[in-house]
């Protein structure tokens, strides 16, 4: 197993600030916008972006939720490993809201498809956008593209992209791992 650094801590930080600025550009004061981090690893990115919006750009009221898509996945009983559920925490209605889904890596697009179905259980949103830190180009199974992307990478299927966060993995970094 070999691994290569795609992004180091400094690069991750620059990208996160750019993504936060792009969100402000589109959503202004976030009065009708909600951020939804996708479980399990999208929530770390969502937490970080929310923190940057509040602390650096003084956006007062950012609504943040976590969405677990386990029960909406299309590989139930087809996957080798049992699917493990995570906590969903959405304590607001998404009716007529502008939603931004936040995930760390966009790969086949199937998680996003599941998230689009899952979020309907909380109402009918006005629109849904997608923010991904890493966009794995040429590997999509569905017609889904990010609206905000951190970095686009070309990665073959046998390779894995791993995003690390300081709070949980000791450093901010993105690695390309050859399995």
């Amino acid at each position: 197993m070999s691994q290569k650094v795609l992004l180091n801590a400094k690069e991750v930080n620059i990208i996160l600030h750019r993504l936060a600025c792009q969100l402000i550009e589109k959503h202004n004061d976030f009065s009708n916008t909600v951020l939804i981090g996708l479980q399990p690893r999208g929530v770390f990115l969502a937490d970080r972006i929310t923190k940057i919006l509040k602390e650096h750009y003084k956006v007062k009221d950012v609504k943040l939720g976590y969405l677990d898509i386990t029960f909406y996945r299309d590989d139930f009983r087809r996957s080798d490993k049992p699917l493990e559920a995570n906590k969903t925490k959405i304590d607001f209605l998404v009716e007529d809201k502008n939603i931004v889904f936040i995930d760390d890596v966009l790969y086949t697009g199937r998680s996003i498809r599941a998230a689009l179905t899952a979020v309907q259980s909380f109402g009918r949103p006005n629109e849904i956008e997608l923010l991904a830190l890493i966009d794995r180009r040429f590997s999509r199974h569905l017609p889904i593209q990010p609206d905000y992307r951190g970095r686009q990478v070309d990665v073959i299927n046998s390779e894995k992209v791993k995003v690390n966060w300081k709070e949980y993995d000791d450093e901010d970094s993105v690695y390309l791992i050859d399995k």
């Binding site: 029960f71 139930f76 009983r77 699917l83 995570n86 969903t88 259980s121 909380f122 109402g123």
Partner: protein, 308 residues
Amino acid sequence: MSELSVNHLLGIKYLNKEDIKLIFETADHFKEVINRPIKKVPSLRDITIANLFFENSTRTKLSFELAEKRLSADVINFSSGQSSVKKGETLIDTVNNILSMKVDMVVMRHPNPGAGVFLSKHVKASIVNAGDGAHEHPTQALLDSYSIRERLGEVKGKKVVIVGDILHSRVALSNIFALQLQGAEVMVCGPKTLIPKYIGKLGVKVETNLRKALHWCDVANMLRVQNERMDISYFPSTREYTQQFGVNKTLLDSLNKEITIMHPGPINRGVEITSDVADSKQAIILDQVQNGVAIRMAVIYLLASKIK
């Protein structure tokens, strides 16, 4: 570890501690799901479940059916009253006929103890025991423990007394197994005639004085007097039973602590508990019913994930 150790839910005695923990954690997620504006997930859309009830049931049947529908499974229902069982068909034949219609899972209530175990050895489908005679009622015990965990934080170390007709009760047996597996202390309390002779072998305390039992416990699970299973008189009269083993508000208030009251339903109001107790804040009877749906969703989901 996120898989059950069993392929069927036949009784609590076949489960281990980790299984119960996994079921509870999964039920937590489903409890959140059933409190959403849209209470349905599409996980089991390619699974068909047959509910076979060879014995009457309201709560359990509705609860299972709702759990299955909330998971998007296809559901077929069967009650022995209106079926060919009356014409002399055997259990295996009945079930195999149903399974040949491509059914993946069977939820069964049957008056004979061991019916689920027997069936699991002869047919190809996941079996969920929804009560077999006076043997086990595993989902009821799971939802009871889950409700205790919800109210008191954890089950471990808690003192639970099961009051009433222990002899005919599958709820009592499954609860004893489930509570002990999670490290709770269990006592049974009731008329001597309704306490099985060898109950001590299960490692439970026995008490015939209700007041003493209530003083000892954190939780009292009040069972229904099962008149339909009593072939002889086990106590002189319902009135006398109520006087000795019925819980009323005066009795509860005379204790120097607040205990939690549970009841698996259906309640005989005024017999095992009075209305003011059943409707009090100490009673978590309706929470048990709500948790029943989440627990059954978890059990069905976890078993279905093992169907290949």
